[in-house]
């Protein structure tokens, strides 16, 4: 193993390494704690490979700029935190509607509003799902350690290009700022998905919004030989505005189905000691580190406890969670919010009354002791 591939860095830096590995060409952003290091690093690294970095006037402009850049064929990303993520919601919806690949990193801090900028939270899970208006689908990935931050960042680009959808990387302040080891994989070690481009030749009608049988839409770069219209209005196969009910219904179904029909392909998760677990902890992001610690601590002490660590939060893998929890007596969702994934787990399993919450919502990282204390209370309820 080459030692130069080993780094001791922040999670935000691991995200940057992953994005560059995936082929990031263009980044637009606006400073905000605790994501700023991503912009700082990319302002240095991107021009070194001929890429572009721009600091825009706000997060609305940042999100808009990456969508514009993506249309020319670039792999694009922006990074932000709560308040900035709120500002990006309208353009996020635009990228969903126009099916333009892009990656948005949200290093979560405490909210609502300005909240608690330098402290950890996982409070943006449902905002990620429903923050932009209208029915839609979205993909959100997360990770609990730097190797996984790297891999989920690469995967975010792959999913974004494959499904022509924005992908949100929903990290949190602890993962973003914590320092630990990262081994940067060799070129070719992780697969990279490249954008599917149209094979229609010049002079032949190209329908930018006519999906193939498999639901995929081959793209043509702006500046290329096919000129077409892109709009946030409901649009026909030409990309031209339409209020034809069939067109409206068809497009909305396409936007949702292309993600929902591939939930299991998009789902990433890790499992620890689930085979015989009576109690399953379900967690994600930095809180999954503490949950893992609890499991490793209690197993040698005879407790049949396991961990299901989710890396794909949206689309929520209901079937997988249901299957993994089928034989457990009870489930405890460990998260740093008031139960945003708890609700999804309750919807997924056959015995929702056996799903409990272990959380902290005070800006303090949830420690293994916090989880154990809550487990004792839950067990005291007779489970």
């Amino acid at each position: 193993m080459k030692t130069e591939n080993i780094k001791f860095i922040q999670g935000n830096e691991a995200c940057v390494e992953g994005a560059l590995y995936a082929g990031l060409d263009f980044f637009a952003g606006y400073p905000i704690t605790p994501s700023t290091e991503i912009a700082e690093l990319l302002s240095r690294r991107l021009p070194q490979k001929g890429g572009k970095f721009i600091q825009m006037e706000d997060e609305i402009a940042s999100m808009s700029a990456i969508i514009g850049a993506s249309l020319t064929g670039s792999k694009v990303m922006t990074a932000t935190s709560g308040p900035g993520f709120s500002l990006m919601q309208e353009a996020l919806g635009y990228a969903i509607m126009t099916e333009i690949p892009c990656v948005i990193v949200n290093v979560q801090r405490g909210g609502p509003s300005t909240g608690i900028p330098t402290h950890v939270s996982q409070g943006d899970v449902n905002q990620t799902r429903w923050g932009t208006h209208g029915d839609h689908a979205i993909v959100a990935l997360t990770a609990s350690n730097h190797q996984d931050v790297f891999e989920t960042t690469v995967e975010a680009f792959n999913i974004s290009e494959t499904y022509r959808t924005p992908v949100v990387l929903l990290y949190d302040e602890v993962v973003g700022h914590m320092r630990e080891r990262l081994r940067v994989p060799e070129t070719g070690e992780l697969p990279l998905a490249e954008r599917l481009r149209t094979s229609v030749s010049e002079g032949v009608d190209y329908h930018p919004y006519l999906p193939r049988e498999d639901g995929r839409l081959p793209m043509s770069d702006f500046g290329g030989v096919h000129r077409y219209n892109v709009t946030g209005l409901f649009h026909d196969m030409w990309g031209f505005p339409s209020d034809n009910p069939k067109v409206v219904h068809g497009l909305l179904r396409h936007l949702v189905d292309k993600i929902q029909n591939n939930v299991n392909q998009i789902a990433r998760f890790k499992e620890f000691y689930l085979e015989d677990a009576e109690c399953i902890l379900i967690s994600y992001g930095s809180s999954a580190r503490s949950a893992r610690h609890v499991v490793e601590y209690l197993r040698p002490r005879g407790e049949r406890i396991g961990l299901l660590e989710l890396q794909t939060l949206w689309p929520f893998p209901h079937d997988i969670v249901n299957e993994k929890c089928a034989n457990a007596k009870y489930m405890v969702v460990v998260e740093m919010n008031m139960g945003q994934i708890l609700r999804e787990v309750k919807r997924a399993v056959k015995n929702p009354e056996r799903v409990f919450l272990a959380n902290r919502i005070d800006g303090v990282f949830i420690a293994p002791r916090d989880i154990r204390d809550i487990l004792r209370i839950i067990q005291g309820k007779g489970v």
């Binding site: 263009f26 721009i54 514009g68 993506s70």
Partner: protein, 267 residues
């Protein structure tokens, strides 16, 4: 290439009302592009939301119909990613200077090579006639039924102060001048702003009793004057037309190329 070859006939008729000035702007723009002999593949038109912004659907360029106020931000991403493309960004007055005001001044400050066309009809037309930041004090609108107490921006002064390296104004009456100015603006390397006074007889005209479209265009003839004219000295209320600013300063994408050079050398 003939003007007809620059439009998407498939998508006509357009949505604009009879007498609307926006068609005149489209006409002037296409004549300009034709005169310049530009290829359709090298032009990207980015627009926002509103009557004026629908212009992008009708032209056979790469066209991006975006969000209200954000056209310049999207255009900045396209341009910086592919600097060899020509970016034309038509916007309405509310689009450019109310909801998009921040992006407008920052695009000007960066001096990125975009051609911003502010189609100023002094009203929100698509939503039915509410006052815009360019309606002006004393005008009437559906949201100013008594009178408008908001003062207007001067687009030219705002663009100039924000650092735009090309700033001009014309009207739908002065089509020859408009085409000439648009040509200069497109050729200019840097952020260029062209304000076009364009009539909205349906809302601004009707609410403010300005008569027909032809009457409103006649007003453009009578109430405007070339920059620095004798008439302006005699009547300071006249609105000046022409090129106010044209300066050569480093363009953003060229400057960024230098950043790439430095970064690659490791400096």
């Amino acid at each position: 290439m003939a003007i007809k070859d620059y439009i998407r006939e498939r998508f006509f008729p357009h949505i604009w009302c009879p007498g609307c000035g926006h068609g005149t702007v489209l006409n002037s723009l296409l004549r300009t592009v034709s005169q310049l002999g530009m290829s359709r593949n090298e032009i990207v038109m980015v627009s926002g939301i509103g009557c004026s912004s629908r212009i992008s659907g009708y032209v056979d360029f790469h066209t991006l119909h975006t969000l209200h106020g954000r056209a310049l931000a999207f255009a900045t991403g396209v341009k910086l990613s592919r600097p060899e493309l020509n970016l034309i960004v038509p916007m309405g007055d509310g689009d450019a200077l109310a909801i998009g005001g921040n992006h407008f001044i920052h695009a000007a400050r960066r001096n990125i090579d975009l051609t911003a066309i502010v189609m100023n009809n002094r009203i929100y037309g698509m939503t039915g006639g509410q006052y815009s930041p360019l309606s002006g004090h004393g005008t009437l609108a559906t949201t100013a039924p008594y009178t408008n107490i908001d003062y207007a921006f001067d687009t030219v002064e705002l663009a100039t102060a924000a650092g735009a390296s090309f700033v001009a104004r014309s009207t739908t009456y002065h089509v020859q001048q408009l085409a000439k100015i648009l040509k200069q603006a497109i050729l200019h390397e840097g952020f260029s702003v062209v304000e076009v006074l364009t009539q909205c007889p349906t809302y601004f005209g009707r609410k403010n009793r300005l008569g027909s479209a032809a009457d409103m265009m006649e007003d453009y003839k009578n109430n405007t004057t070339p920059i620095g004219s004798k008439a302006k000295k005699e009547n300071p209320d006249l609105i000046e037309r022409g090129v106010f600013v044209q300066k050569e300063i480093p363009e953003y994408c060229s400057e960024y190329d230098k950043i790439i050079e430095r970064a690659m050398k490791g400096k």
